[in-house]
Structure formats: C-alpha cells, structure tokens
C-alpha cells in the first residue's frame, strides 16, 4: 500500500486538521469528525448537513461553507458515520428553522442518520431527511437495499444549499432536494481498485485488460467485469442506461457531470466528456451546465462516473448561485 499517510488510524483526523489549517476561514471541526461552517448556526436559516464514509473527498467536508452544506460528518474510510456525529452537527447548525439531512442510500447511512434524527427530534429540533439513490447500475427494487447514492449527491448539496442560503424554509428545501433526486441519474466504472488504508490491500483485483462497469464509490465490485474498452465505448456504456432510465428526452437540458474516481487524470475526464457531449447531441439533449472533475471519489481508484441532472430554470439558477467552500467556489 502506497499512500501519503502516517497511520491508517489517524488518517481521517489528520486530514480534517489539515483542512482546518488550510480553510480555517470557512470551516471548523467542533467534535471528532464533525465539520461545521465557521459561522454556524445562522439564525433563521435551515441547516443542511450530510455525511458518509471518508475516502470520497472532497465530498462531504469540502462542501461545507456558504451556499452549500452547514455541516458534514465524515466516518471512517468507507464507513457510515455514527449517530453521535449527526446529532452533534444537527445541534450545531440548527438556527431554529430546522435541519435537512441529505442521506445517501446505503443501509449504514440510512440507519445511522435515522437514529440521529430521532435523537435530534427528541431534543426539539425539526429534522427532515431526503435519501439520494441515483445509481442506475443497481436495480431499483423494493425487495433490496435499492439504488446507491452517488454523484447526484454533490449536485443536491449545491442546489439545496443555495436555496437554504437564500432563506427557503425546511419544507421547501426538502421538496427541492427530492426534486433533484427525482431528476438525477448516475453510473460509474473502475479501471483499478482502491485500497482502504486500514485494510492495506486492494479491495479487488482486476486483470491488466479488465475493468468493472457499474462500480460504486466504495470499491464495491460492479455489476459486470469485462475486457477493457475505449473511452468512447465506456462512455456509451455509462450514458445509455442513465439516459434510458429517467428517461431523458429530446429537448431536455441537463447538467452534465463527468466525475473522476480519484486516480484518473483530468485529461481522460475531458475525453469522456467529449463523447458524452456527442451522445447528448445525438439524442437532442442540450448541455445546460457542465461539471468536470474529481468531486465524489473512491480514494485512489482510477475510473469515472457520469451524472445527468435534468435542469429547469429553478435548478439552473440555484446551481449558478454563489458558493464558497473548500472545494467548490464561484460567484463570490
């Protein structure tokens, strides 16, 4: 295992200390693994929090700040955080207008956030939750854990954060988050595995000429392993199930998000974006907004994911609204 760490046990703590050292003007760490916006709580503003395992940086800690998250709760690497963190965060960002929990659809995340929400409600805080489940690689079924929450989460956090910043109430913000979830679909793939620091070896082994299609963001094996293909072919394999699922239709305008899994250079992401733009054009779908980079990752995994969000004026306006966080900043 080759990593710039000291010990696996302290990796997340030291990471957060480094984030505070670098971005102390935007964030603070108020308890172990609870990253909070510097000026929290803001009276009368709905608090927006999210959380999940570490190893997906910049998600979620990098998205704490003006116009996005009020707090983030990173767990151990790839492990959902514990309810204590979400409770602490919920209390810290509650400005009297209630708190929204943006939860990715994983058994652990769901249960731990649910426990925290109950505890927070017992303390008199109005808590709502929206579950993001946008990964079309997973069959959507009532009899399984359902779809994973992946790239759509970042878009939801940005858009919902903008609305909360502008003063929307908890009901509005919750409905908006659900609207993002209803209009967003994603799918990912991996060229290489990642290595959980505490595990010390790659989560899975891939042959030199193999790739995993339909991978999650935790190094979970995908739906199929197959021979390595070209960027164009891979882009087709990811885009087609996404486009067919919602379905996205001719005349739609989308936010096209090509995401790197952590170990893939930007050059390759733009090559994928190039093909994606051709595919969208072929289907008569417009690219309203573009987003390319490593925004929801799996440690050092090489690979990419595609996320498409169907835009309307409201979502576009909120996407464009000013944001200032360690990882995402514009308009301010």
């Amino acid at each position: 295992m080759k990593k710039l760490i000291n010990t696996p046990e302290h990796a997340v703590d030291e990471e957060l200390a480094g984030m505070v050292a670098a971005h102390g003007d935007l964030i603070k760490v108020i308890a172990p693994n609870v990253v909070v916006r510097k000026d929290a709580p803001r009276q009368g503003k709905v608090g927006v929090i999210s959380g999940g395992g570490s190893g997906h940086e910049p998600m979620h800690g990098g998205y704490v700040g003006l116009g996005m998250l009020d707090a983030a709760c990173p767990g151990a690497v790839f492990t959902s955080p514990v309810p204590d963190q979400m409770l602490e965060a919920t209390k810290a960002v509650n400005g009297g207008a209630g708190v929204l929990h943006i939860v990715k659809n994983y058994t652990g995340d769901i249960m731990n956030f649910e426990l925290a929400a109950e505890l927070a409600r017992a303390e008199g805080i109005d808590v709502a939750s929206v579950v993001i489940a946008d990964d079309v690689a997973v069959k959507d079924s009532l009899y399984t854990a359902g779809r994973r929450g992946v790239g759509g989460t970042v878009l939801a956090e940005k858009i919902v954060g903008a609305a909360a910043e502008a003063g929307a109430d908890l009901k509005t913000v919750t409905a908006l988050c659900q609207k993002v979830q209803d209009n967003v679909r994603s799918m990912g793939m991996a060229l290489t595995s990642c290595t959980v620091p505490a595990a010390g070896k790659p989560t899975f082994e891939l042959g030199d000429d193999e790739m995993e299609i339909g991978i999650g963001i935790h190094g979970e094996p995908g739906r199929t392993r197959m021979k390595l293909a070209t960027a164009d072919e891979i882009t087709e394999m990811l885009a087609t199930p996404i486009l067919d699922d919602l379905p996205f239709k001719s005349g739609d305008s989308v936010l096209a998000f090509v995401n790197g899994m952590g170990g893939t250079p930007l050059m390759e992401l733009y090559i994928v974006f190039n093909k994606l733009a051709q595919i969208l054009k072929g289907r008569g779908i417009g690219i309203g907004r573009s987003f390319v980079g490593n925004y929801i990752t799996s440690l050092e995994m090489a690979g990419c994911s595609i996320t498409l969000l169907r835009l309307d004026d409201e979502l576009t306006r909120l996407w464009d609204a000013p944001v200032r966080t360690p990882a995402l900043r514009w308009g301010i």
Binding site: P83, T107, V138, K139, T144, F204, E220, P221
Partner: protein, 219 residues
C-alpha cells in the same frame, strides 16, 4: 425449561471480552470477506467497536448484566458506524433491556435476551431470512438455543448446538444472492461468497460457547 441461573455477570463480561479477542484475531478475515462483496471494512468496523466497548465494562458501577450489555450496545452505536454499528448496537441494547437489573440469568433468559436482540436487528434492518445477512446465522442459532433450552439441555450442550446452527447458517449464506446491505448491489455476483456479517455473528456465538465452557454461575 431451563430456569436456573447459569450465566453470571462475569460470564457476560468474559463473553464480550472473548468476542473482542476473536474479532481482533479474525479482523483481516472478516475484512477480506467484505472485500469480495462489500467495501472491505467489516473486520475493521467490528474491531474498532469492541476495542472501545471492552474497557468501558471495567468502569460500570454494579454487576448488572443488562447495564453491561447496554454499555456495549451504546459504544457500538457510537463508534462503529456502517451497517454493522447500528445493527450489532441494537442487538446488545435490546438484549440489555431484556436482562436489565440481573446479576445472573438462566438459559431461558438467555434465549429471551438473544431473541430480543435479534428482533431489534430485524426491526431496524428489515431483512428476511435468506437475504444473506447476519440474520442467516443468528436466526437458526436462536432457534437451536431455544429448542435446546426447552428440551432441558445443559448450558454447554445448548451452546454447542447453537454454535453448530450458526455455523451452518453462516456457510449457507455462500450460495445466496444478497437482497439487503451493500452486497445486494452486486446482484447475482454476490452468490458464491460467504457473508461477512453472518461470519461475525457466528463468531459471537462461538465466543459465548468458548467463554462459558466453565460458566461460573453454573458451577
């Protein structure tokens, strides 16, 4: 019926301690199982939780089995995270609630405690038998324990049958296609791998059998 107190407070502490040691021992194995169909953290998660839980037992004010189990449950919920944190946490919290205030329990009470714990896991995780989860080891183990207790078996005998059932249940998860938890994302590809949570559950019952082979209250 098995109404005589056979498991003491010290036995319960010994059980938790033995399981913590077993988890530490099998940490890499549990993580490797989770690599195949999950996210390579189950051993790490369980170890983090039990390394935190054991020291807290020493500081408890009185010899209350229920309080000890609740302490374990609270610590698991607060330190493990993931799916296994709330699930195992609930198991111990509910088992603790069922044994609150007791300094020693009978075999029947053990059955009731474990049953309450499992019910908690089911309420929270909503899994069914055959979904390829920890329940596939726990449910048959509970049934075996209950039958053994009902048939008047000794503690040692009852635990031996329980562990046997848990082991069978664990092994039987291998061909299953997961319908709950992270392994369910794999669909058909989840078949052919033993479930990590079922494996840790088997180890949990094995730890009881090992720790209680010379159970203090029984002697």
């Amino acid at each position: 019926m098995n109404g005589a107190a056979v498991i003491s407070y010290d036995d319960v502490v010994a059980w938790i301690t033995a399981f913590a040691a077993s988890v530490r021992d099998q940490k890499d194995y549990l993580t490797a199982l989770d690599s195949a169909i999950g996210d390579a953290d189950h051993g790490i998660n369980m170890d983090r939780g039990f390394q935190a839980a054991v020291p807290k037992l020493a500081g408890l004010p009185n010899r209350d089995i229920g309080a000890a189990l609740k302490s374990v449950g609270m610590t698991l919920v607060s330190t493990v995270g993931g799916a296994s944190g709330p699930l195992y946490g609930t198991f111990f919290l509910q088992m603790g609630a069922a044994t609150a205030g007791r300094e020693a329990i009978s075999l029947d009470e053990l059955v009731a405690g474990i049953d309450a714990g499992i019910a908690g896991i089911q309420r929270l995780g909503k899994a069914e038998p055959g979904d390829k989860t920890m329940l596939d080891a726990l449910l048959p183990a509970r049934d075996a324990l209950r039958e053994a207790a009902a048939s008047g078996a000794s503690l040692g005998d009852a635990l031996a049958r329980t562990v046997g059932a848990a082991e069978q249940g664990m092994v039987a998860t291998t061909p299953l296609v997961a319908r709950k938890g992270r392994a369910s994302y794999l669909g058909e590809r989840s078949a052919g791998h033993q479930d990590p949570g079922a494996t840790s559950s088997y180890l949990l019952l094995k730890a009881a059998a090992d720790a209680w082979s010379g159970a203090t209250a029984a002697s």
